[in-house]
């Protein structure tokens, strides 16, 4: 199943989400229309209903089955919240809720002012999404992105936004709250792993092709050692993301999501640094594609809590469990 989905996603994004598509959407070139074309392609592929039950017209996949969708989205730096949309639609479809049109992202935080204004300081994909799922703790709610003031919350090329809804219309579209940060973290960990794998592939290719002092730099012992360390981190990140997705249901488990986001985020520094170090000046240019992935990796690391945030959550849980063996905690709280 996973291989079929992987190949189908690769083919789809290879066609409709080239590096230049990504650049255009990042820069806002072509406006909402550019995004709409890409979204339509994703929607027509049927992937957006991957987790929706077959009875409601979806594919009825488990989250575990859907892992390659998020991973391949990361491999192509897909600038739209496909996997977030898939999860929200999947969970909504378990109720009688009507499934909305368009892309859905998950807000990283929320605060509500006394006059009812809703603010989220960090909404990954907030600049390009149609809907934002905001977790109020006691419940979660879909808010329309068009009703919000948006400001880019990041550096060059970011599609993350600070968003602010004045008196949002809260009608329907309500879901259980409180776990959405972990869900967001889990989904983005697979995208992180995909982006890291792409940078590894680019780095391997560059090292074999680039000739310096008369031979490919891949022959240099120091390059070989660095790239091996990079590969170790990418392999670990990929496994961590799979741990996060390892459920036969639709919802990530809290500790598995925590491990997924902790470990993938921790890998970002090493993977990005080595990729840039091997690529030299070329990797530092806008026109070369590496930056699409390394920029995204740093942003996704920040989204939904960095490694230290999730480390603290895991550490507190481990202490609270009163276990005297870390291995038992790992076996019992987590997949494997």
């Amino acid at each position: 199943m996973r291989e079929i989905i992987f190949d189908a996603m690769e083919q789809l994004l290879g066609d409709c989400c080239s590096p230049n598509h990504v650049r255009r959407i990042e820069r806002g070139e072509g406006g909402p229309k550019e995004r709409a074309v890409l979204w339509r392609a994703l929607q027509e592929s049927g992937f957006t209903d991957a987790l929706v039950a077959e009875a409601r017209g979806g594919s009825g996949l488990s989250l575990s089955d859907a892992y390659p969708i998020a991973f391949v989205a990361g491999r192509h730096a897909l600038p739209l919240p496909l996997m977030q949309t898939i999860l929200v639609r999947g969970i909504m479809s378990e109720t009688n809720a009507e499934l909305p049109e368009g892309s859905i992202t998950i807000a990283g935080d929320v605060s509500v002012t006394p006059d009812g204004t809703v603010v989220s300081n960090y909404v990954p994909f907030g600049e390009v999404a149609d809907w934002v799922l905001v977790d109020f703790g006691d419940r979660a709610q879909l808010l329309p992105a068009t009703g919000a003031q948006r400001h880019i919350a990041g550096g060059y090329g970011s599609v993350n936004a600070r968003m602010r809804w004045t008196n949002p219309s809260i009608s329907g579209n309500e879901l259980p709250g409180s776990h959405w940060r972990a869900y967001g973290a889990c989904l983005i960990s697979a995208m992180l792993a995909g982006a890291m794998e792409r940078t590894l592939n680019m780095t391997l290719g560059y090292a074999n092709d680039r000739v310096q002092f008369g031979r490919p730099i891949a022959k240099l012992q120091i390059i070989q050692q660095q790239v091996s360390v990079m590969a170790e981190q990418v392999f670990a990140a990929r496994m961590a993301a799979q741990v996060g997705f390892s459920t036969a249901g639709t919802r990530p488990k809290l500790m598995a999501a925590a491990v997924a986001k902790q470990r993938t985020s921790e890998a970002v520094g090493t993977v990005s640094s080595i990729a840039h170090s091997v690529h030299g000046a070329m990797g530092f240019t806008e026109e070369y594609d590496l930056q699409l992935f390394t920029r995204r990796m740093h942003e996704w690391r920040l989204a939904y809590g960095t490694e230290v945030y999730w480390s603290k959550i895991i550490g507190r849980e481990l202490l609270a469990a009163g276990e005297s063996r870390t291995l038992d905690f790992v076996r019992q709280s987590l997949a494997g």
């Binding site: 391997l204 090292a207 074999n208 490919p216 891949a218 022959k219 012992q221 390059i223 070989q224 050692q225 790239v227 091996s228 360390v229 590969a231 170790e232 392999f235 670990a236 990929r238 496994m239 961590a240 799979q242 741990v243 390892s246 925590a258 491990v259 902790q262 470990r263 921790e266 490694e307 230290v308 999730w310 480390s311 603290k312 959550i313 895991i314 550490g315 507190r316 849980e317 481990l318 202490l319 009163g322 276990e323 005297s324 063996r325 870390t326 291995l327 905690f329 790992v330 987590l334 997949a335 494997g336």
Partner: protein
């Protein structure tokens, strides 16, 4: 080439072994302090090894006809995971169980298999590995220990060094030159099983940085071996050693050898220390890393169970695991010194000191980190 590692889980019939191993260890290790248990796969207790054998937990993956368990590599994973994480003293049988047994099973004659394997499974034959020599370092192809044909077998002369447990093992499987010169490198090397009680064998234990003696120097002075000492084909020593190192590297040792320290620290934090964001984050980070390393080790085990030879994947997991194990005492030390007014208990300090001192050896055994990374680079297609 390297293959991706996919998440997999331990089959229920193998997981079922865990409860009995755990019960056995709870009793056998009751009251053994953490700084002793921290030795684990450096801890020697021949009696303990024989008790494990009596339970059927040595030679688990060898065929039943030779006294083995006839089980999969998952079964061995579960047993080994329990032994190492609890800090059981396993060094007496460790090399026989992990690599000499599988090596003999793969390359040995029927006579050799019938002789050695049941003894290994009963915990009666402990093995050591004769690879390094004083001037070889990581360059194993430069060995000069030589076995010369005689009428009845072989005459062995030379010297091995850094041989773990030679002074308390029964046999060594030695990489020796049977033809050619050192300049011929890989060609002309063979493996010999040497009975260490034979005349002409002298063993000098070497004390290490922790004050213990594991390493040995072994001298061969006209040691007369029978025809049956040769294991596998003459001249195939290099290929066999490579396979043997793959057995060595694919075990889960490389993620569990410092768990006794981690757990002792966990208990100290939970019992005696106030919650501090720095400490809690460090604890959680290690649990997270352990979780992912374990999932990777299980994935390698699954490839073994399918009969594959995941050499590069195992090297990758070993190198990551070594990083985890070598960083752990440094990180825990930093945390233990984060509030000198709440000093750590003595046993925790001793455990920390032992693990800190022993930790450089984690990257000596089974190939330095540079060698492993070179293997990974080749597996990645860097050329």
């Amino acid at each position: 080439m390297i293959e991706s590692l996919e998440l997999t889980s331990i089959p229920a019939e193998d997981e079922a072994l865990r409860a009995s191993v755990r019960a056995f260890l709870d009793e056998a290790l009751d009251g053994v302090p953490a700084d002793v248990r921290a030795r684990s796969w450096m801890g020697y207790d021949a009696d303990f090894s024989r008790r494990l054998a009596a339970k059927g937990w040595l030679g688990l993956t060898l065929p039943k006809e030779y006294g083995g368990g006839g089980r999969s590599s998952f079964a061995r994973f579960v047993v080994v995971e329990e032994l190492l994480s609890a800090g059981a003293p396993v060094t007496a049988h460790w090399i026989a169980d992990r690599q000499s047994g599988p090596l003999i099973h793969k390359y040995g004659s029927e006579v050799q298999k019938k002789f050695y394997l049941p003894r290994i499974c009963r915990g009666e034959a402990f093995f050591c590995i004769g690879m390094s020599e004083p001037n070889s370092g990581s360059d194993l192809a430069s060995v000069t220990t030589r076995a010369v044909r005689t009428d009845s077998g072989w005459k062995l002369n030379g010297r091995k060094i850094w041989t773990t447990n030679a002074y308390r093992s029964h046999y060594m499987i030695a990489l020796v030159r049977t033809s050619g010169e050192p300049a011929d490198r890989y060609k002309g090397l063979s493996q010999m099983i040497v009975d260490l009680s034979f005349q002409g064998v002298t063993v000098r234990p070497i004390h290490d940085i922790t004050g213990d003696a594991h390493f040995c120097e072994v001298f061969f002075d006209d040691v007369m071996l029978g025809d049956d000492a040769l294991i596998g084909a003459e001249g195939s020593g290099w290929e066999q050693v490579t396979a043997e190192l793959a057995f060595e590297r694919s075990g889960p040792e490389r993620i569990y050898s410092t768990l006794v320290l981690l757990d002792e620290w966990l208990v100290f934090l939970g019992r005696d220390m106030p919650v501090d964001d720095g400490r809690v984050a460090l604890l959680g980070r290690m649990a997270s890393q352990l979780c992912v390393l374990r999932a990777m080790a299980i994935s390698v085990t699954e490839k073994l169970a399918r009969g594959e030879s995941p050499v590069v994947e195992a090297a990758l997991v070993k190198d990551l695991g070594t990083e985890f194990e070598q960083q752990m005492p440094l990180l825990i030390a930093d945390s233990l010194g984060d509030d000198p007014d709440r000093p750590a208990p003595s046993v925790l300090l001793k455990t920390l000191a032992y693990v800190t001192q022993i930790s450089p050896s984690f990257s000596l055994r089974g190939g330095t980190r540079e060698i492993l990374r070179g293997m990974i680079a080749r597996g990645l297609g860097l050329r």
